[in-house]
Amino acid sequence: MNSKTRSAFWNLSGVRARAIACVTLFSLLFIALLVTGSRIGEEDLLVSLDNTFQAPGLGHLFGTDWVGRDMLLRTIKGMSISMQVGLISTVLSAVIAVFLGVMAPVFGGAADHLAAWLIDFVMSVPHTILIILISLACGGGLRGVITGVVCTHWTSLTRVIRAEVLQLKSAEYIHIAGKLGRGRWYIATRHMLPAILPQLAVGAVLLFPHAILHEASITFLGFGLPAHEPAIGVILSESMKYLTVGKWWLALFPGISLVLVTVMVEAIGKNLEKLVSPHAAHL
């Protein structure tokens, strides 16, 4: 077949450049939000009782709550807390996924069956119910919600990695490398890692949206972070009380922020996938 490979690496109008720009921009935004939020302390959220329930305006872009605190600041802080929880859960889930996903096929036999069965088990109970149970067992709070989310979210990435390792294990070119006198270290570093790392990176990034959504949802139900930790789920849960009396901004803006951050991370993951996976690149 006649083909000319024309590298469009630096062509800024290219799809590749767009994907890189998207990943960079959103990652920076993500970090900025995380840092800003964590620098907002209690002292910034002044209670001012003559400013209660102010509708969104120039002074308070997101309005104020029932004790007159600025909702914009509260939302940023809440998002930042939720994002931290999401990040921790994601990292822990990814660690479990790598461990099980690599170990199960490598040891094979009973270990592999056990891993497969565990994945099956976790997937056959509604996640919400399982998270409620686990967070209950941990006595709620930060530890509870993280444990709950981690215990239910490791499955999808584990499946991906396990499948990849299984496939690699039986790949002809791996066998051939061995026959060409290459040892396990060479095969693991030159063939296995380059295949698994991109999958892991993409999979982990795509775990985050689920983790943060579940964290917020569980907190909303009252099983997650306690009321004095102003996470986004707590803010939304509080706003339920004022929903029927028309204080719409209490629920609207924090909700939109949550959705936007989730969409953003999803976009990072999808674009990363485009960059590293040859199959997803057909557009």
Partner: protein, 329 residues
């Protein structure tokens, strides 16, 4: 031959269900044991009038004073006999509570399931047949945003718009307040069902829509659609004759496999709308440490999800001609 295969299939499924159930019971029980919630305190609340003696009697009444393993064994054996214990919150036998709650939830879930299935399938076909064009981009964008939106917030938005803002529909509960259960008309029930069902189906749409789109794209690129085009069939005929038929089965399968998300979503939606179904009961049971009820709900949810998976599995075997009979070889 066929009978042996079916027999094997049923046996395998039964064994799987049994192991899942037993493991789930042990896990649930252990988790509840670990939890710091004291059921007696949860039951009597902060009422100082209840003395230590009375608490002990309550504990004894529920068998709470015995060691965990013994309690699990007695609970498990009575479970197997069909006696699922008494709910602490509702003070009625668990099967009774679950029975009534499950029916209420089922109305909600079924409506949402059908609605999201039909809408998602249709949108997926539209997007898939217009791959890369405006309709596809818009549908994909909407689906991706909805995918990132928590179910409870969709519910809150609906309340804000339709119940508070426009005042068209009631914001909460499954029946009007202050009306006796028997007197509620069907119309009233439906009016109370609309918003929760809408919220639940909206959360279900993106999954089925994106899946259908993927499959549709795949089929539009398949050899047989290429042949159809070469034979001069137009888009309408291709969609009707080839795409719909071939996408239907995977879409339906996914829809049955989504029972888990459906159940999970109903928990949030029921909570937002104070809809008195299983989900709300689960939250209450969890918050107040009602172990027998929570266990009952966990088991029912597993059965619910399992039956969905089973139907999906059977669908393939029954409908797909490729599974029904062996191939040429």
């Amino acid at each position: 031959m066929g009978e042996v295969r079916i027999g094997k299939f049923i046996l395998a499924k039964a064994v799987r269900l049994a192991t899942l159930l037993v493991f789930l019971c042990i896990l649930t029980f252990t988790l509840l044991e670990l939890s710091p919630i004291d059921p007696v305190t949860a039951y009597v609340g902060a009422d100082p009038a209840v003395g230590a003696e009375q608490r002990e009697r309550i504990a004894e009444h529920w068998g709470l004073d015995k060691p965990p393993v013994e309690r699990f064994c007695s609970w498990f054996s009575s479970m197997a006999r069909g006696d699922w214990g008494t709910s602490m919150i509702y003070r009625r036998p668990v099967p009774e509570v679950i029975g009534s709650k499950f029916l209420t939830s089922l109305a909600l879930m079924l409506t949402a399931w059908i609605l999201s299935g039909v809408l998602g399938f249709w949108l997926g076909i539209v997007a898939g047949t217009h791959e890369g064009r405006m309709a596809d981009r818009l549908i994909r964008l909407a689906a991706n945003v909805l995918n990132s939106t928590p179910a409870f917030w969709i519910g809150m938005l609906l309340i804000m718009v339709f119940a508070v803002g426009l005042g068209w529909l009631p914001a909460a509960l499954s029946v009007p307040i202050g009306v006796a259960e028997a007197e509620v008309t069907l119309a009233e029930r439906i009016r109370h069902l609309i918003l929760p069902a809408l919220a639940l189906s909206i959360t279900g749409i993106p999954g089925i829509c994106l899946h259908t789109r993927e499959k549709t794209c795949e089929i539009m690129h398949s050899d047989y659609v290429l042949f159809a085009r070469a034979r001069g069939e137009d888009l309408h005929s291709i969609v009707r004759r080839h795409v719909c038929r071939n996408v239907m089965l995977p879409a339906l399968t996914l829809q049955f496999l989504s029972f888990s998300e459906l159940f999970g979503g109903s928990v949030f939606v029921e909570q937002v709308f104070s809809y008195p179904g299983m989900g709300q009961a689960a939250v209450q049971a969890g918050l107040r440490g009602d172990a027998p009820l929570l266990m009952g709900i966990v088991i029912i949810s597993l059965l619910f999800v399992f039956s969905g998976n089973l139907i999906a599995d059977l669908l393939y075997r029954i409908i797909d001609p490729r599974m029904k009979e062996g191939g040429y070889e």
